[in-house]
């Protein structure tokens, strides 16, 4: 784990985990964007999990920033899953009309890791099919 300025970014099972456990000031959000991009480049993960159970209030700026982060990650070939959103916050975001469009979500960290593990397996199987079309077809079936 690299010691970052505000929010730690941890590599776990080939994914990056960002667990936000402190008050997100605007400055921290901006730093986080940069740090995540750096880490993606450094660690080459398959997925990025942004874990939000430590946040209690999510306004439009932070929501937009998280969406931006996931879009940037996607441009770098990394799939983002957002996990741990507090139910009250989810209600608030919907009522305010701020929706995380185009971003995968999961109920909690475990579910997020499962989603990413699955997508990684699918991706690897697909790659194998490309490089070795006569290869073990059973593995493909297992994944499905």
């Amino acid at each position: 784990m690299r010691k970052n300025r505000g929010v730690p970014i941890i590599k776990l099972h080939g994914n990056l985990l960002v667990s936000i456990q402190l008050e997100l000031s605007d400055r921290l959000v901006a730093e986080l964007k940069d740090d995540i991009c750096d880490e993606i480049q450094r660690q080459n993960p398959h997925g990025l999990i942004i874990e939000l159970s430590g946040i209690d209030i999510l306004d439009s700026y932070i929501a937009r920033s998280i969406r931006d982060i996931s879009q940037v990650a996607r441009l770098m070939g990394v799939r983002t899953v957002i996990a741990g959103l507090d139910p009250s916050m989810a209600v608030t975001l919907v009522e305010m009309g701020l929706v995380f469009s185009g971003v995968d979500t999961a109920l909690n960290l475990e579910a997020a890791m499962q989603t990413l593990a699955q997508s990684r397996a699918e991706q690897e199987a697909a790659q194998r099919a490309i490089t070795d079309p006569d290869g073990p077809g059973d593995l493909l079936e297992l994944v499905e």
């Binding site: 605007d26 400055r27 209030i57 306004d59 439009s60 937009r64």
Partner: protein, 259 residues
Amino acid sequence: MMAPAQDRNARGLLETVLSQYMTGVEARGIIHYAFRHCEPESIDPERDGFPLPLINRLLRGVELFVKDETKRTCCKDRLGGLVGKTDPGASTRAEKNHDPPNGHRAANGHGATNGHGGAPNPSESEAPASAAVKLQLLADNDIVVARNQAKDTTAAMGFSKTEQIKIATAVSELARNVIRYATRGELRLEPAPGPATGIQVVCADQGPGIPHLERVLAGAYKSKTGLGLGLLGCKKIMDRFEVHTGPGGTTITAVKYRL
């Protein structure tokens, strides 16, 4: 403004307490910030204790700097113990425009829920439950302070958790708009007018005003900077939402009643 000696005394006392849980630099930082925002008129810690808004402000800092759970609880208890122990009327002694009250509030020991009479004096609260809180919005961090204060105030008023989050989010939006577009402003959290329990949020600045207001509020305006989204979101959440804006500044008044 406070006499220098009193000020030093008060700060020194707070620093002694706080630096047992964080570094001296952090403690002094929090204290400086709290005093700057609460503008206490006079503090005599031995006689009056500290005003509640000041302690609340310090508690925010404790949240940030004291990571250890046990230490944090301990520190918060210590700070809580420093709040003016005398009757709620004691804190009004520090008010700017008031004569010392003849204990009229102290008599029933209640914060007022039925209006504040003449001068609301928002910067000193008489009792947490119906505090009128005034916050200066000067820097990024104040957005965080504002929304936490909104959460605390609505919690004290008995709003449900989801409602607290909604209102705090709305406050966060308004505060952010002020900092972003008007650089500085003021936020007031006070009991809503009328018999029903509710909170009134008044956010005022002297910025350049909100362009295309009608279109923003109709959801038809797509701003590059995101100004419209937050404002529209607030309007959807709150029960009443009034915007007065012009080139000289903007005042937004929003009310939400408790269910």
